[in-house]
């Protein structure tokens, strides 16, 4: 039990289904406080599902997830979620500052104005991610890396200490990838916990410290080099537990005229 104190997220036998499809199958994994964890695995392995389960959006078929020392619903404000970039309409008439302000909305009552303390947090988040000179820009007028930083700043303004990122490196060039890694390492140094769904194994190996390898069930978890070892990847990507069910049965799905 003493070990539990250092694990800010504790999943026990987590099982989730979408209709008849099992997305997560008996996953038990601990995420240490202040770690930088990559959740990796093939498509349909349940990476996003695990993030959603941690956020408390899914009704679990079985098992439980404990965050800090209470249930997910009770600590929702402490969790920050970063959407995938493609889900955002970049033409939306909104400025960088207004997006970051959204981080404070949940703590406000209906129709209430932002308080001075809210403005302070927003300002600090903008400063930490070097967005102050860009604060008045419409979000289309930013580079990919800057756009990602805006959403990181919103998560910061939320005052969260656990950050759940869904494929944060998608669509970023090399420079922006380096920059984002740098920011995440900085957060780790400040004791913040970051959990990211990453489909790029190389990226996960290079930039993350802990790894969780999923193939609907848990294949491996631990220090990234061990968890994402070749042997484990072999199991996850070619194993018979792949989300599409069974061995290579694709041969039958198409017939070509001779």
């Amino acid at each position: 039990m003493s070990n539990d104190l250092h694990n800010i997220i504790r999943c026990r036998d987590v099982t989730a289904r979408y209709g008849r499809v099992t997305a997560l199958d008996g996953v038990s994994v601990d995420i240490p406080c202040g770690s930088l964890t990559a959740v990796a695995g093939p498509n349909g392995a349940g990476k996003s599902t695990l993030l959603k389960a941690i956020l408390g959006w899914l009704r679990l078929t079985r098992g439980e997830i404990r965050i800090g020392d209470s249930h997910p619903q009770h600590v929702l404000p402490r969790l920050a979620y970063l959407p995938q970039r493609q889900t955002i309409d970049w033409d939306f008439p909104i400025t960088v500052r207004e997006v970051v302000e959204q981080g404070r909305y949940p703590s406000l009552g209906l129709g209430r104005r932002l308080r001075p303390s809210d403005h302070e947090r927003i300002e600090r988040a903008l400063e930490e991610l070097a967005l102050v000179p860009l604060a008045a820009r419409q979000i289309r007028m930013l580079s990919g890396g800057q756009q990602q930083r805006v959403f990181l700043a919103r998560a910061l303004a939320q005052g969260a200490d656990i950050f759940l990122l869904d494929e944060p490196f998608n669509g970023l060039d090399r420079f922006a990838t380096e920059e984002l890694t740098h920011i995440l390492l900085g957060w780790k140094a400040q004791g913040r916990t970051v959990v990211a769904a990453i489909h790029d194994i190389e990226l996960a190996r290079r930039h993350f410290e802990m790894g969780v390898l999923l193939a609907t069930h848990l294949v491996a978890a631990g220090p990234v080099a061990d968890a994402l070892s070749e042997a484990n990847l072999e199991t996850a990507f070619l194993g018979s537990h792949c989300a599409h069910g069974g061995d290579i049965s694709l041969v039958r799905t198409a017939r070509f005229p001779s």
């Binding site: 404000p77 008439p93 909104i94 949940p106």
Partner: protein, 288 residues
Amino acid sequence: MSVSEFLIAPFRYDFMQRGLLTAVLLGISGGLLGCVLVLRRLSLMGDALAHSLLPGIAAAYLLFGPSLPALFTGALFAGLLTALGSALLSRLTRVKEDAAFGALFVVLFGAGVALINLARTRLNILEFLFGNVLAVSSSDIALTAATTAVTVLVFVVGYRHIVLETFDPVFYRATGGRGGLVHLGLLTLVVLNLVASLQTMGIVLSLGLFLLPAVSAYLWSDHLRSLLAISSGIAVLCAVAGILISYHAGFPSGASIVLCLGFVFFFSAVASPRHGLLSKLRGGGDKI
């Protein structure tokens, strides 16, 4: 005809004053709501919703005569039937929501036309379809005023919820928001405003008063608050101009208001300094 004769003289008449008041009120709430529809990519759905009101109104007319509460209830019922029906169809069957909406509204509109023919009364179908601002009654004004008040109130109180649900529904949900509730609330507001604008705009054109100012403003503004203000401003101005044209030229009021709005829209699409056609041709646009 002098300018004052053209602009002021028509409003000596009571019916023109009533028309003006409803048009201004409708412009305010229509301009606000249109922005949300455009940003949520529901423009076409709104149009479908407008058409689907016809059978509700026709049935209410057949059953209760020209009583405003009855017409309103009928329209509200038909609108909610379309909105909820298509949501349900898309959840429970393979049909996607846009297709479900398309299918439902066509059927309902057809039913509406059939019902009106069934009535064979003095019911003027042209008035239903294209509006007649000159026949605005005082109870119409009361309805419109109430609708505008409710719409503005919802926007003031729920502004952040609407913005967040529209901009990033996943985040809104993650922070404890009820996305479905916001969506349903907005749809109800749309139906409410469509019904209120029926007399002035007519069924076929009523959505023009929502959408055209919003898309025009969308071409000018990069800030949501100014977008809402510009959109409402355009709607009010064009509504007044449209009524004047309708009075002088004898067009249906819905048509002349939509034509004014259309002029503003095409002008914006060409001349907007940052997002218009000319700026793109000059190579000065923001997007590649």
